[in-house]
């Protein structure tokens, strides 16, 4: 005990000089959330805001589907349609897909590795607020001179030609470029945090090959983010410079080359696909063993496949450019590498099937979503391999076939995993379970709606319907399938509505019982502490001796290999113990500084977009103020014990 106090005295004492701002002290109410550095609260904020953006992006999609339901649609103007499909894609990738993974990662990674928080709690807070302000910044463009309308991959020279030339009227492309740079800064900060946490802060005995697969996948994702964000940031800077300062990066008339943009973007863009899907694969790899009552089949192979996908993800980017004339050698090479990446993906699918095979399967809602993931992701993977065959790809490029393909991967895959994750970890996050009946309704509506929406798009693509075209004439043979697709989209909307109802219904349900630490009879460390966990996660940091540690504390095998439950209390510890003295476990204290630094970024962003150098200077000053306050503030206030007053 004395050693702790001594260590803190030694490290903290010199920093207790003058302060620029008093330390925030709120432990309840909205202000405690705004200034929190607790990874679990930050995760809930990530998840909530990402869900809001899921609804916003979903509503944009509904408008797109309404517009296309009948030929010669008039729901949206062409200009508004461009804004909606651009913002739908940008929202779902940057404001929903990545933050939702950050939500699960933030909540679960420290718990799963047996740590009390992430390595840099304030950097974590910064990552969230950059996401929040970056999202608001992007959406403020609707009110401030036009939303982005050049597609989510914003090809040059469309997006890079100076405003005066009138290719893309309005400030949309500027908001888009600056917004993505801003979100990229936040993503890199979050990635560094996950990497250091996973590499450096595992509990004793938690070796790399004992890590839950979800943690492994977040590790790969963090590396991908770390290396994928810089090229796209460079591309965005070039777009912005071309558009506003008349550089010639993508101006072919002066010797520039739009293909350079495509290369820079897809060097980011393809790893980004794996940044989005790998967390989903991780979630499914956690759910399947629990609901099959079997360990994950071929753990090491699943992990290695994830790493292989991480590496191969860097050598396939040009398959997005087969139709842009990059030459036969490049096309063949990238076609081959694209076929190759299907191998580790296929291996994983077989591992998941092997996990379920012969297991005592419980078809609870999380399991249903996980199984839906496997089926639909496989379909998306198969249409993906079709794109590796170059002649076939050139036929499919920019048709609805491509739209069908990536929605099967990202919606049929990622979103199903995410919803499975919601139902699986909800008791851990909030201390109450979601209703199974509504959950199953949610699942079946979503399966039917999803396949009704996107399966017909394969055929529409083959029949030549181009994507990103705001309307089509009668008599193309597309009418029926488009209508079907629109009906499906509204079924998806209904399923999301059921999910939202479920949240409130289950929270208010008559006579609901508080859930135990381990309601699913699960396998990993997060289920060893109370639901929801206390601020310090574990009263005593667990000593890990096995992969699936919790399982091994509960069960053993008899001579014939049958599962035998260990005597009650088999070393499952629960955190709400009364012998923990309030304040005896030092946790990082809340802070204002990351928030102040994050506020500076959109101000700098507006300064650039409107070329208002005063605004820019103001932003820089605020940012500098935030950083300098941050630098001299100790992470933990020695005389403060916020969790003592019961933050939870």
């Amino acid at each position: 005990m004395t050693t702790v106090e001594d260590a803190h005295a030694l490290v903290e004492a010199p920093s207790r000089g003058p302060r620029l701002l008093e330390r925030p002290r709120a432990t309840t109410g909205p202000w405690s959330w705004v200034t929190t550095v607790d990874h679990k609260k930050i995760a809930i904020m990530y998840g909530s805001l990402a869900t809001v953006f899921l609804l916003v992006g979903g509503i944009e999609a509904l408008f797109i589907r309404l517009q296309l339901a009948r030929p010669n649609g008039t729901v949206l103007t062409a200009a508004r349609y461009n804004e909606f499909f651009t913002m739908h894609g940008t929202t779902m990738v940057f404001l929903m897909g990545m933050p939702i993974a950050a939500a699960f990662g933030n909540y679960l990674v420290p718990l799963m590795v047996g740590a009390r928080d992430v390595a840099f709690p304030r950097l974590n807070m910064l990552g969230f607020w950059i996401f929040a302000f970056g999202g608001l910044f992007l959406y403020s463009s609707f009110a401030l001179g036009g939303a982005p309308d050049g597609g989510w991959f914003g090809y040059a020279p469309l997006t890079s030609t100076p405003l005066a030339a009138g290719y893309l009227p309005g400030r949309g492309a500027d908001f888009w470029a600056v917004g993505i740079i801003m979100l990229g800064i936040g993503s890199v900060a979050t990635a560094v945090n996950f990497l250091v946490t996973i590499i450096n802060m595992r509990a004793p005995g938690m070796t790399m090959m004992r890590l839950p697969v979800f943690v492994w996948m977040m590790l790969v994702v963090a590396f991908l983010t770390l290396f994928a964000m810089p090229p796209v940031t460079a591309a965005m800077i070039m777009i912005f410079m071309d558009r506003n300062f008349h550089t010639n990066f993508f101006n072919a008339a002066a010797g520039g080359d739009p293909l350079v943009y495509q290369n820079l973007f897809w060097i980011f863009g393809h790893p980004e696909v794996y940044i989005l899907i790998l967390p989903g694969m991780g979630i499914v790899s956690e759910i399947l063993p629990v609901f099959s009552r079997k360990p994950l089949f071929g753990y090491a192979i699943v992990v290695m496949s994830g790493i292989a996908i991480g590496f191969l993800g860097w050598v396939v980017w040009a398959h997005h450019m087969f139709a842009s004339g990059i030459g036969p050698v490049a096309v063949s090479a990238f076609g081959l590498s694209t076929m190759l990446i299907a191998v580790p993906t296929g291996v994983k699918i077989f591992n998941w099937l092997g996990t379920v095979w012969g297991g005592a399967v419980r078809l609870a809602t999380p399991m249903l979503f996980a199984l839906g993931f496997i089926a639909q992701f496989t379909l998306g993977g198969l249409s993906g391999v079709m794109h590796a065959i170059v002649p076939s790809d050139t036929q499919q490029t920019d048709t609805y076939f491509v739209v069908a393909h990536f929605h099967y991967v990202l919606f049929g895959g990622l979103m199903f995993a995410v919803f499975g994750g919601f139902y699986y970890w909800w008791p851990k996050f909030f201390g109450y379970a979601l209703s199974e009946r509504l959950g199953k309704l949610n699942f079946w509506l979503m399966v039917i709606g999803f396949n009704l929406t996107f399966f017909p798009m394969h055929f529409l693509g083959f029949e030549g319907q181009p994507r990103r075209t705001y309307t089509y004439p009668k008599g193309m043979g597309w009418d029926g399938l488009n209508l079907l697709s629109t009906i499906g989209a509204f079924l998806i909307a209904a399923s999301v509505l059921v999910y939202l109802v479920n949240i409130f219904y289950s929270a208010k349900r008559e006579g609901r019982q508080p859930v135990s630490a381990d309601p699913w009879d699960a396998r990993t460390l997060e289920w060893m502490t109370s639901s929801p966990p206390p601020e310090y996660n574990f009263p005593e940091v667990p000593i890990v001796t096995h992969r699936d540690e919790l399982w091994h504390r509960k069960y053993t095998e008899d001579d014939e290999g049958r599962l035998v439950k260990l005597p009650a209390g088999g070393a499952v510890e629960v955190a709400d113990r009364k012998d923990i003295e309030p304040g005896s476990i030092h946790m990082p204290s809340p802070s204002y500084w990351p928030l102040i630094f994050a506020v500076a970024l959109p101000i700098i962003g507006y300064g650039f977009v409107f070329k208002n150098w005063w605004l820019l200077a103001l932003g820089v000053v605020i940012g500098f103020f935030g950083l300098s306050g941050w630098a001299i503030e100790p992470s933990t206030e020695p005389d403060m014990h916020p969790h003592a007053e019961g933050a939870h």
Partner: protein
Amino acid sequence: MAQAVVPAHSSGLAHAEPGHDTNTGVSNPKLAIWLFLSSEALFFGAFITTYFLYRGRDTQFLKGPKPEQLLNIPFTSVTSFILLMSSLTMVLALAAIQRGDERQLRIWLLATALFGLTFISGQVYEFTEFYRHGLTLSVNMFGTTFFVLTGLHGAHVTMGIVWLLMLWGRSAQGRLPQAKSEAVEIAGLYWHFVDVVWIFIFTAIYLIPQH
């Protein structure tokens, strides 16, 4: 007692003493700065690659001054040398704080910042000279790539200078004791990285013949 196991892990948070209780033995902040710099390497990599892709590609347009008419290799060699010497003073600053000599630390921090500032002044002079001779961002591809690549590097050096001066200020207030030498080490890693990037940029733009 719960506290019995606390030291090993609760102090695995960011304020941990360097390296003592992490799985790898490398302290969290140091691991973080290495990861961040690896990300930065790809950022500069993208711009350097773009520079090479466009080098000499716009000869048919024959607009604006050519690089060989502008580049003053002796002058930039001198400022580059000064920037590289600042890495030496940075090492001396770290050595000073590691042996607890705070006065020497401040001297070498200031010297490093000053060398950096000299380099930036040279860059400002170079930019104005080039501009006077008609090289703008838009006149040709050399203007586009040169100004953006070296400008972004200059911005990184400038941030490094601000970082060094903040450390100097902390030390002057007596808030940068020997125990916190890692703060200097981390700033140093950033500073050396920016210097190494300049070696690549200098080679690419100034030393490799244009045609």
